[in-house]
């Protein structure tokens, strides 16, 4: 399955950092916001070629993809909408709560057209009251409805933290199993394009210790739709992390219905030398660095962990047992982020298999600045990934 970065101005084409470090970065392959498409191969064939003018969906020998039909092409937000629509058709108890999800169509167009189709009560435009409409979603879920709460930006859900942690996460336990809370809490997060500190938050680390919830992060249209459907069907509360800059990714996905496992990681690129664990937008930075690494002779194995809580230690473990070196690349903060937990997890479980200490590249522990260059420096760039792999493999 080939994923193509369709640059429409809001992609992760932010690799053009000129005065980044002591390295001369000017020679890095740049994916500019022009109408150039670059194809990565997810599995099987390793395409080191950079630019293809006509993007063709290559059918790699991916056993989980549809080998029969070509499928249809869409953008990530459309894939989310498709998954949502299919589930709303299937189960009349599924409803959506959020600001501007109804008549406006969703601030990222994920719920566009759904209010016309299903009515105002099923696609509910709420006032700006995150704490209480998240609470309302939990209350509705206690009676059997399956609400999906959209935070216009993940950062706004901090206002609903009490409802998410106490009521969403814990009610199933404190009621001795009497009530299930099948909610999905979703929204875009992550560092965008100069959106400012309060609108560039990564909440994975704040929610990760809440017992009772599951967290997943989508990164391609294929897994976005699959994870959305799985999250809606799950009886547990699921937090689905999307990324502001990935909404316009284009990919060809199968026509048939499919659901992905909420606890499974995705093997993006098998390899031998080093395991690179990543999720969400950093996957694309990693894949870009992977191209450089392949040119330099390394063979990285890239895994998109997808499931942030619980970690898919099975896939990760098998990879660690094969390569013996781990690099974690994440957009979360350094302190107490997903990478920190993952490092601890891998160290605990697979210590004997490691040849070198785990390296974790995360965002800097700073509020995201507005200035473009500063913003680039807060997140991990492909050049840093390349350096880290080189150093890791030297040991």
């Amino acid at each position: 399955m080939a994923a193509m970065l369709h640059s429409v101005g809001v992609t992760s084409a932010s690799v053009t950092s000129n005065k980044f470090t002591a390295f001369s970065i000017n020679s890095l392959p740049v994916i500019r916001s022009e109408s150039r498409t670059v194809s990565f191969a997810i599995n099987g064939t390793r395409k080191t070629g950079k630019v293809t003018t006509k993007a063709v969906a290559t059918q790699a020998e991916n056993p989980t993809s549809a080998a029969s039909k070509p499928g249809h092409e869409l953008l990530l937000f459309e894939a989310l909408r498709e998954g949502l629509e299919e589930e709303m058709d299937r189960d009349p108890r599924v409803c959506v709560f959020g600001e501007d999800v109804g008549h406006y169509g969703g601030s990222y167009k994920v719920t566009k057209g759904l209010a016309d189709k299903y009515g105002d009560l099923r696609v509910l435009d709420t006032p700006i009251a995150e704490n209480s409409f998240t609470g309302m979603a939990v209350g509705a879920a206690m009676t059997g409805l399956r609400p999906i709460v959209e935070g216009m930006n993940m950062g706004f859900l901090l206002l609903a933290f009490n409802q998410i942690s106490d009521n969403c996460g814990m009610l199933h336990y404190t009621s001795g199993g009497q009530f299930t809370i099948p909610t999905v809490i979703r929204g875009p997060g992550g560092v965008g394009r100069q959106l400012g500190a309060e609108h560039s938050q990564r909440l994975e680390s704040y929610f990760q210790s809440i017992p009772g919830i599951q967290m997943v992060a989508c990164s391609t249209p294929y897994n976005a739709k699959g994870l959305m459907k799985a999250a809606i069907r799950s009886e547990n509360p699921v937090v689905l992390f999307e990324h502001v800059l990935l909404y316009n990714l284009k990919e060809r996905i199968p026509d048939e219905e499919y659901i992905l496992s909420l606890e499974e990681a995705e093997m993006v690129r098998p390899g031998e030398h080093v395991t690179i664990l990543t999720y969400s937008r950093m996957r694309y930075h990693v894949m870009q660095a992977a191209k450089t690494l392949v040119n330099k002779g390394y063979d990285p194995e890239v895994i998109d962990i997808r499931s942030l809580k619980p970690f898919d230690l099975y896939t990760i473990g098998n990879s660690v047992k094969k390569t013996h070196r781990v690099l974690i690349v994440e957009e979360c903060m350094r302190t107490g982020g997903i990478g920190a937990s993952l490092t601890a997890s891998i160290n605990e479980n697979f210590h004997d298999y490691l040849d070198a200490p785990i390296v974790c590249l995360s965002s800097q522990d700073v509020p995201t600045p507005y200035a473009g260059t500063l913003e680039e420096w807060t997140v991990v760039q492909p050049s840093q990934i390349v350096t880290a792999v080189e150093q890791l493999c030297k040991q």
Binding site: G139, S175, Q178
Partner: protein, 388 residues
């Protein structure tokens, strides 16, 4: 022949219809009772003060309230004996709200409240053994011992808890009302909170949404005049909680009079089904402190507490009504109380014997049946992860 018995108390003005001299303990002869105080309305015409009841209901009220009172006092002793740990918020003094509300609604209506939930749990069909076992952290508790005093739930009875964080249950209550409107099932939700929680922002957010979408939500403020140690006039600029809804109508009710509560809840249910949310303020009082760790006397005088107990006690009011209508003798009522005492003691003994939860229960009910969902790719092959 008609018997009009006048009692010395000026609170009661019983108007009884024909009753023979023998007591019809289970009869359904209608009796009309006047509430002690008139209702005060905000943006709404208050209901009448005359409440229809039957002897059966009167005796039931007495029994239920005496049971609740006994349970709370027994919990007090259990707490002091260190069998109940942590937080224990007792409801004695406020029983009229629980009993009056229960008599006006069905089990399909939902009730959600904060942490002072033991008596409401009983009213919704919970048993004494479940309650005491949960308080003592035993397996037979209503939440399998994993919730505690503040997390009583009864799904079949329509009792949604049992919440520790002040005010957080009100948006949940509006969510329950939303689900009722969504399923179009003509039931209402009573979201209860206290005078302390009345200052929470999420309450007004939820009220706004309930009013916007005409949800059948009834917000009930159990105003016992103290938010833990802070008197209401020190915490709220406007302690007229029934008026704080502004565009939402409100009703102020004497919460120590079970019949006033019953009338108000009936009225509110009819209103909510047609017109959307309404706020009920129950003027009530708690004899114990905020919780067992609060003596309850540092911020109020003992005279005040005993004064309320003498003049407004809900159980006494019903007792006087029962005696006034000649439905039972003093001795019979005392016998009922003895029975109740025995019932409670038996339940405590049974709960004490019940086992503690198994250590493996630590990890159950975190997720529903393990994890996630059955997943499949487009070619229908299952992709379920196997975790170590």
């Amino acid at each position: 022949m008609a018997q009009l018995t006048h009692r010395t108390s000026s609170l009661l003005k019983p108007l009884s219809f024909a009753l023979s001299s023998t007591r019809h303990l289970s009869s359904t002869t209608p009796i009309t009772v006047e509430t002690s105080l008139p209702f005060t309305g905000h943006n709404i015409e208050p209901p009448s003060r005359s409440v229809e009841t039957t002897p059966q209901e009167l005796i039931k009220f007495f029994r239920d309230m005496a049971l609740m009172r006994r349970m709370e006092i027994a919990s007090d002793s259990l707490y002091k004996a260190k069998l109940i740990r942590g937080f224990c918020h007792l409801y004695d003094g406020q029983e009229a709200v629980a009993v009056g509300m229960e008599s006006a609604i069905t089990r399909k209506d939902c009730i959600i409240t904060a942490y002072r939930d033991h008596c409401l749990f009983l009213g919704r069909g919970g048993t004494l053994v479940e309650a005491f076992a949960e308080l003592m952290g035993r397996k037979e508790g209503c939440s399998k011992g994993k919730g505690g005093s503040m997390h009583f739930y009864k799904k079949e009875g329509g009792f949604y808890g049992g919440h520790g964080i002040v005010g957080a249950q009100v948006p949940l209550g509006c969510g329950l009302a939303f689900a009722q409107k969504y399923s179009k099932d003509e039931n209402v939700t009573f979201a209860m909170y206290g005078d302390g929680a009345a200052n929470q922002g999420q309450l007004f957010e939820a009220l706004n949404m309930a009013a916007l979408w005409d949800l059948p939500a009834i917000l009930v403020c159990e105003n016992n005049h103290y938010g833990m140690g802070t008197a209401e006039w020190r915490a709220a600029k406007s302690p007229a909680y029934y008026k704080r809804g502004d565009y939402v109508p409100g009703l102020k009710v004497d919460g120590m009079d079970a019949f006033a509560v019953k009338q108000a809840c009936k009225f509110a249910k009819e209103h909510a089904l047609k017109n959307g949310p309404i706020i009920l303020e129950m003027d009530t009082y708690r004899y114990h402190g905020h919780s067992m760790s609060d003596p309850g006397s540092t911020y109020r005088t003992r005279d005040e507490i005993s004064g309320v107990r003498q003049e407004r006690d809900p159980v006494e009011r019903i007792r006087k009504l029962v005696l006034a209508h000649d439905l039972a003798t003093e001795k019979e009522l005392k016998d009922t109380e003895k029975e109740i005492r025995k019932e409670v003691d038996d339940a405590i003994a049974k709960a004490k014997e019940s086992p503690l939860p198994d250590p493996s229960e630590l990890f159950t009910n975190i997720y529903v049946k393990g994890y996630g969902v059955e997943s499949y790719g487009a070619d229908r092959k299952e992709l379920r992860a196997v975790l170590p």
